[in-house]
Symmetry: C2
Subunit: 331 residues, 2 copies
């Protein structure tokens, strides 16, 4: 079935294609009557401009790619939502790429994005050899991930979040605090969370304790790692987990082992997604400003595409959300 084109509209309205194009793009001189006549014809024929043709001509796809490990993860699911919303506001559309943190996938996507001529890329994933990104420096912004010196990054104030969380545990009387981190070998601003922890611990002359729970291992393995922390003779009375999922896993294990939270051990997480607040409202956590991260990433990227100077780093404040796992049941 043939689509209605601008030529059909011109013929039907008895004007030239140029005139129709002028109406559509509000260019040059057009009288009101002419404008109306053309618009009526457009409506009559139900003409819908072919954006593919426009994109092709203008060399702008109006697509922005978002590369995340997976939208399965609530944090990235929420990020995706807010990025899409922000993009829509500025007339851009979202092309979503799930890298699964696999560098091969990520490379394939970069190639694909190049073919598809996406206008820009927002990276929230963690893998490809950074050098790959060098070819795209003028059209990339990253979220919580330092790619190259020149690629702007938007992040939460991870360091301060780590400090706030640790401070809170100390305020609540904890003296033996465990820090649960994700993959330590991946260099990400999320590591600043641990640094915040370390600084607070040192300030109080407490002992530093770490366990690492890699992102990609099985649930059972994760649980095993957590269980081991209950085995030694050294008892923790506070836990700062670098993300909420690990925090919740810790809660589950603690409960199973017969420990009472927050009496025996207090727990605080990091991320504070909607999902967590709905599903695990009892968990105290450091809330990342996901919506703002998305908005800043989008506006920074669009500015960058326009050739404007943009900040190399945007750091957004986090907020402490205190609930039962640090404070006792609030009846």
């Amino acid at each position: 079935m043939k689509r209605v084109t601008i030529h059909d509209v011109a013929r039907k309205a008895g004007v030239s294609v140029t005139t129709v194009s002028r109406v559509l793009n509000d260019r040059g001189y057009i009288s009101n009557e002419m404008k109306e006549k053309v618009l009526n014809t457009i409506e009559e024929l139900n003409y819908i401009p072919n954006e593919m043709a426009r994109s092709f001509f203008s060399n702008q796809s109006k697509f922005i790619a978002l590369i995340v490990p997976t939208t399965e993860n609530p944090f990235f699911g929420e990020l995706t939502f807010h990025v899409e919303k922000a993009l829509a506001k500025f007339g851009y559309h979202l092309f979503i790429c799930n890298s699964l943190n696999d560098s091969e996938n990520e490379e394939k996507y970069l190639r694909l994005l190049n073919e598809k001529r996406v206008d820009g890329i927002i990276v929230g994933s963690h893998n490809v050899d950074i050098s790959e990104y060098k070819n795209y420096e003028d059209q990339i912004v990253s979220i919580e991930r330092k790619l190259t010196k020149n690629i702007p990054m938007v992040q939460s104030d991870d360091y301060n979040g780590g400090r706030l969380a640790t401070q809170e545990l100390i305020t609540q009387g904890c003296t033996n605090i465990l820090c649960v981190t994700g993959d330590k070998n991946v260099e990400t601003p999320a590591n600043d969370r641990s640094i915040g922890y370390v600084d607070e611990i040192e300030k109080n002359n407490y002992r530093k304790n770490f366990i690492e729970i890699p992102f990609q291992i099985d649930l059972d393995e994760k649980l095993k790692i957590i269980k081991e922390t209950f085995q030694g003779d050294f008892k923790y009375d506070g836990v700062f987990a670098g993300d909420d999922v690990n925090a919740k896993l810790f809660l589950n294990v603690a409960k199973e082992m017969g420990y009472d939270v927050p009496k025996d051990v207090k727990v605080i997480g990091f991320d504070g997604t909607q999902s967590i607040r709905y599903l695990v409202p009892e968990l105290s956590t450091v809330v990342q400003p996901i919506e703002n991260l998305a908005y800043e990433a989008v506006t920074t990227l669009l500015d960058l595409l326009k050739g404007k100077k943009v900040k190399n780093e945007v750091i957004l404040p986090v907020e402490l959300y205190l609930s039962e796992t640090t404070q006792g049941s609030k009846k």
Copy 2:
């Protein structure tokens, strides 16, 4: 900065564009030496075909839109992930649309998708006047939502899920079972969950009880509705919630009110997302085959686009996941 085109490649290689195009598309006669020469030149110049031009010419964008309420919701976040994965397998890309269940948004998206010439649409949202979809009947598949007689739908076996859940509660000794539903006025296969519940309850001559928790209201209002169920003199000893979030909210309220789950009241949910299994592993639930739903929706849509005959309805089996909220702590 000018991009390398097929003409540049042809010139550099000393052949005609037609020949280059033949190599790229594997058409007509090409000797191996020629093929190699062209491919080498392509590599040398780092030529990357402009998919916008191809799409424009072939009139195929290779984009499939997925309309969901919001990827913030874990169910849709996971669905998005699996849809993207399935599409990628067949060379298609995902254009994500968050409708927020708002019909105005949805209409805007439909218009936009028309302009962008997406090849097909997968609908997982619930709003626009169905008539709007009539114009797209030959390029739409829906997930868990009956749109028109002619639009194929892929769904979980909601009815059976409702029966299984209710049966399980009855098996565990419950006699006064409450059914928590989402919006009842929205016509969706998810309503079959309640029908499954009703049929099992009637079979056993128990009393039917319903509360409705609209999707879009505030958390506090939801909690209020749930709290009220504890107020009357009629006590429930079992709860079947139409989705896991409501099930968890119920658990939270029950705990706050001093009830013991599963001793005083047993609870079973619906959806069984990854998130829930990680964050609320204690919740018994009916697991939807999200990955299969996505895969079936994608393959059905692609078949439809190819003009093949497709099934009008695909119903995929659900699975019961039993945990502590129906069975007592499994130490």
